[in-house]
């Protein structure tokens, strides 16, 4: 292993020629490369880095599939609700017609028309429910993709933590903290955090404690 004292910066007053700087940079690069190789981190890190573009496209795939599924479900629900509303309206109308004049309601065909409408509407609603069920197929596909990305993230984390622990000075490791903005978004496990609320009740309690 090379002598690390050579990494010390030159005194501010000394003048160093560009050739010496280039030589030192080359030396540092070789030193870093050799150190990483010796630590056994490089192959795993390289593998993880090579897989990152794939992970990105996999996550895009998940976003696309879940988005499509959500749209499909919402469209089916809209259509089913419209059918339901129509049947509810016709039911009220036929009830009024029967109460006003039952014989006329039957004789005019209103009752049988209503029965036919109900049968047709329920068939359409059943199809919408089937569509909603089928739209859930994204879960199987995206679940597999997410599992692969999680494994990649785990591999990358292992390599980086290993590199950090072995190569960085302890005081610098302790100074680095995650950017809080990176943690924005849904809280997956509130039980592990003290700075977040776990449910709407806690939001209301917090606001009430502030006088809102």
């Amino acid at each position: 292993m090379d002598d690390y004292t050579t990494l010390a910066p030159p005194a501010a007053t000394s003048s160093v020629s560009p050739e010496v700087v280039y030589q030192q940079l080359g030396h540092l690069t070789r030193l870093l490369h050799d150190t990483l190789e010796q630590l056994g981190v490089m192959p795993n890190l390289q593998l993880a880095a090579d897989n990152l573009p794939d992970a990105r496209s996999r996550l895009n795939y998940v976003a696309k599939k879940t988005g499509e599924a959500a749209e499909k479900v919402l469209n089916s629900v809209d259509q089913a609700k419209a059918e339901h509303e129509k049947i509810a309206r016709e039911t009220r109308e036929i009830a009024q017609a029967i109460m006003a004049d039952p014989v006329k309601a039957v004789a005019s065909g209103s009752v049988m028309n209503f029965v036919g409408d109900v049968e047709a509407a329920t068939a359409r609603i059943d199809q919408h429910l089937t569509d909603i069920m089928m739209a859930q197929d994204f879960h199987d596909l995206t679940g597999q993709v997410v599992a692969k990305v999680v494994k990649l993230a785990g591999d990358l984390e292992d390599s980086l933590v290993k590199l950090l622990l072995q190569a960085a000075p302890p005081d610098q490791v302790a100074q680095h903290r995650a950017d809080p903005d990176v943690l924005n978004g849904p809280v997956v496990d509130p039980s592990t955090r003290t700075d977040v609320v776990a449910n709407q009740g806690e939001v209301d309690d917090l606001l009430a404690s502030l006088g809102f």
């Binding site: 749209e71 809209d78 978004g185 849904p186 809280v187 977040v196 776990a198 709407q200």
Partner: protein
């Protein structure tokens, strides 16, 4: 302030799915008149060009986020009376406190139920009626 049935809502969220869900729930609880905006900048433009009675806004959005939209609304003389209900996945206490201090009328964390949305909207309505 318009009456409940003709009140006009603006639903602001960068996810079209969530906009549709909120609109659908508003419709179910009796508010049929709602429009959508995909971020704070679009929302602010719509608010300045048409009359709305109520804003339901996400926080994390591109271009202009929910906090920035809230600040812009409260800074504008013509808009500052508008109630803004934050509906967001942000569950950090500091975000909830900030929203309240910045003038949000309510705060709902996702995922939420129709009952929660209805309760918060009604509560805000009652406050507005009392204040009027």
């Amino acid at each position: 302030m318009s009456t409940n049935t003709d009140m006009k809502f603006l639903v602001v969220d960068d996810f079209s799915t969530m906009r549709r869900i909120v609109r659908g729930l508003l419709k179910e609880i009796g508010y049929n008149n709602a429009e959508e905006a995909e971020d704070g900048a679009v929302a602010l433009n719509m608010l300045k060009n048409a009359k709305f009675d109520f804003v339901v806004s996400d926080i994390n959005m591109p271009n202009m986020n929910g906090f920035e939209l809230l600040a812009a609304i409260k800074k504008d003389e013509k808009l500052k009376h508008l109630p803004v209900l934050m509906v967001t996945a942000e569950a950090r206490k500091e975000d909830i406190v900030r929203a309240a201090q910045d003038g949000a009328a309510g705060y709902i964390v996702k995922p939420f139920t129709k009952a929660t949305l209805e309760e918060k909207v009604q509560k805000i309505m009652q406050k507005l009626m009392t204040a009027a």
